[in-house]
């Protein structure tokens, strides 16, 4: 009895107490309301997918995968659609093509502009230029479209012509008709100009949040401004740049009005970027919507569903990549 050390019970670690807090009724009601509000976004996203697929189910049922992989879009006169054929392949190809051009052009411009604002611009000009970029990122796409139609597309088509003259042997830059305007190249550049401020704005923000400790360390080791940027700022900000790029890509994939205004809608898959034909899913919907029969509307809803899935996939992948590649994870 006296030797408690030996029997093992006395030295056993105490069990952890689980702390239970009984929430008051007010708190339970409060949490319920807040949760309901927060989950509305979840419900909404589900409803979007559900309604688009239900209302267009007939189209997917009839055409199956052909709706995605064929390029014929013929709306017949019959109300039951028996003489209609719908396929969005050409539009999907166009969507991806135009968006890729936009991102490839916009990314280096945006990173350069973001570095310029944060590390090269004199400090007293910085806040003004930041605001200018943020405003440009919020300029409506119809304004970009108007500017593109009246000012920019002429210059862009002449660049296309120059590109064809010097690099026409390369399949991407070949053309059948020497027209050059309203081509994927022009539309891609317009989208690039549209998304450059978006990517710049996001990248600039993450660059400006680089820990000053690390920048100082780089300078104190005899590093130049570029040394600090390459060794500290870019690795630290890369996930933010990826995030901004994905945001821009998402905007480009779903852009309607600007593409509608500067791109010829042709239902033929086209990878020659200087050719005056192309299209994207969003502008297809805007183009056909006005005069569509009830049956064609269903096909447009189906096209919208395909676009929805495409952009959601890109977006979720982007969110995942950004969370994974953050250099300060560990």
């Amino acid at each position: 009895m006296g030797t408690a050390l030996g029997d093992g019970t006395a030295s056993r670690a105490p069990e952890k107490r689980v702390i239970v807090a009984q929430a008051s009724r007010g708190d339970r009601v409060f949490r319920g309301i807040v949760a309901a509000g927060a989950l509305s976004s979840l419900v909404l996203l589900g409803l979007i997918a559900l309604f688009l697929i239900v209302r267009s189910g007939e189209i997917f049922g009839r055409f199956g995968l052909d709706f995605i992989f064929s390029s014929d879009w013929t709306a017949g006169a019959e109300a039951d659609g028996s003489d209609s054929t719908f396929g969005v392949w050409a539009m999907l190809v166009g969507t991806v093509l135009v968006s890729l051009i936009a991102v490839i052009v916009a990314l280096p411009l945006a990173v350069g502009a973001a570095l310029f604002i944060e590390f090269y611009l004199p400090e007293r000009l910085r806040s003004t230029v930041r605001m200018l970029v943020d405003i440009s990122a919020a300029v409506p796409s119809v304004v970009y479209g108007l500017w593109a139609v009246s000012i920019f597309s002429g210059a862009a088509s002449s660049w296309g012509e120059i590109l064809h003259r010097f690099a026409g042997w390369f399949p991407l830059f070949g053309v059948e008709n020497e027209q050059y305007d309203r081509s994927p190249f022009v539309a891609g550049l317009v989208l690039a100009i549209m998304i450059t401020p978006i990517i710049t704005s996001v990248s600039r923000e993450v660059f400006s949040r680089t820990p000053p400790d690390l920048v100082n360390a780089s300078y104190a080791l005899g590093g130049s401004r570029w040394g600090a940027i390459r060794n500290v700022v870019l690795p630290y900000g890369s996930s933010g740049v990826v995030g901004g790029t994905m945001l821009g890509l998402g905007r480009a994939l779903g852009e309607t009005v600007a593409v509608y205004l500067v791109l010829n809608l042709v239902f033929k898959p086209n990878l020659r970027i200087l050719e005056s034909q192309g299209g994207n899913v969003a502008s297809l919907i805007a183009t056909k919507f006005g005069e569509a029969s009830e049956y064609e509307i269903k096909a447009l809803l189906a096209a919208g569903f395909v676009l929805f899935i495409l952009t959601m996939t890109v977006n979720m992948a982007a969110t995942y990549i950004v969370q994974k590649s953050s250099p300060l994870e560990s």
């Binding site: 400790d213 690390l214 100082n216 300078y219 104190a220 080791l221 040394g227 060794n231 300060l328």
Partner: protein
């Protein structure tokens, strides 16, 4: 490499070689008539101080007395603070480091710095962190692994990390991170090493290790260390300089051999401070 003239300002970069240890003769660092301002605020007034080669000088004084600002002036880190200004000159090998013809990056290569908070590059491995300075300054080195080992050994970290040189710098403990930062500063072979309260964020064990390291390093370089801790100043420094702001800009009250400063200071305020009556 034998006389003062041999160390031309550009020599370090042009030779493209970073020897692991230096056998050359070191010159001291001299600050003449240093003032500092932050916008309109006059932070430091007329500091004249000489740091002899191969000595450890402790800069002591209560917070806000401008000792860290003074340290940052010594390797041109002061100019990264917006609206900062200065006056006076800092002489390394009799040449003013603030001369318009001088490239500040090359000055920082010769006058290294260790910061208050450990700041290893989080995306780099331990080995990459040590050689980061070489990469930044585009210095070639014949045997990188040897240099990494040598610097880590001198910083007193080699035994602890030799098996995980490919781990990220951020995975180390605070004290280890600070020693990694010291190793990183050593890799470019500076002539002077500035340390801004290097132990203030560390535990007593790590502090002791770093103090030992400082003693070893002073054989090959000139060290200036800012510290709040009187015992530390007494332990590691050969010379001391006492700064005090007293409502106005920070001033140098007294400087000299540490033994004198702690036992027979000439100024009453120094005596009060080192004996812990204020600050």
């Amino acid at each position: 490499m034998t006389d003062v003239k041999g160390h031309e300002v550009t020599q370090m970069v042009e030779t493209q070689e970073a020897p692991a240890t230096t056998g050359g003769q070191l010159a001291g660092l001299e600050a003449r008539g240093i003032h500092a301002w932050f916008d309109k605020h006059h932070a430091l007034e007329d500091i004249n101080l000489f740091f002899p080669a191969n000595t450890v000088t402790g800069l002591i004084g209560p917070s806000g007395c401008g000792k860290s600002t003074f340290l940052r002036i010594l390797n041109r880190m002061h100019e990264f603070i917006p609206r900062a200004a200065m006056a006076g000159e800092v002489l390394l090998h009799d040449a003013d480091i603030y001369d318009p013809s001088v490239n500040p990056a090359e000055i920082r290569l010769k006058i290294g710095m260790v910061f208050q908070k450990p700041n290893p590059f989080p995306a780099m491995t331990i080995a990459e962190n040590v050689s980061a300075g070489l990469k930044l300054a585009k210095l070639k080195v014949s045997n990188r692994d040897e240099l990494v080992e040598d610097c880590l050994t001198r910083a007193g970290l080699w035994k602890e990390v030799k098996d995980r040189l490919d781990a990220k710098g951020g995975s180390l403990s605070g004290g280890q991170q600070q020693r990694l930062c010291i190793a990183r500063a050593l890799a470019v072979n500076p002539e002077v090493l500035l340390m801004d309260e290097p132990c203030s964020a560390l535990d007593p064990g790590s502090t002791l290790r770093i103090e030992e390291t400082i003693g070893e390093l002073s054989k090959t370089m000139t060290i200036v260390i800012v510290t709040h801790n009187m015992q530390q100043a007494a332990r590691v420094s050969d010379r001391c300089a006492f700064f005090l702001a007293d409502g106005g800009p920070g001033r140098l009250i007294e400087s000299g051999l540490t033994s004198h400063m702690f036992t027979t200071p000439t100024d009453k305020r120094t005596e009060d401070y080192v004996q812990g009556r204020f600050g």
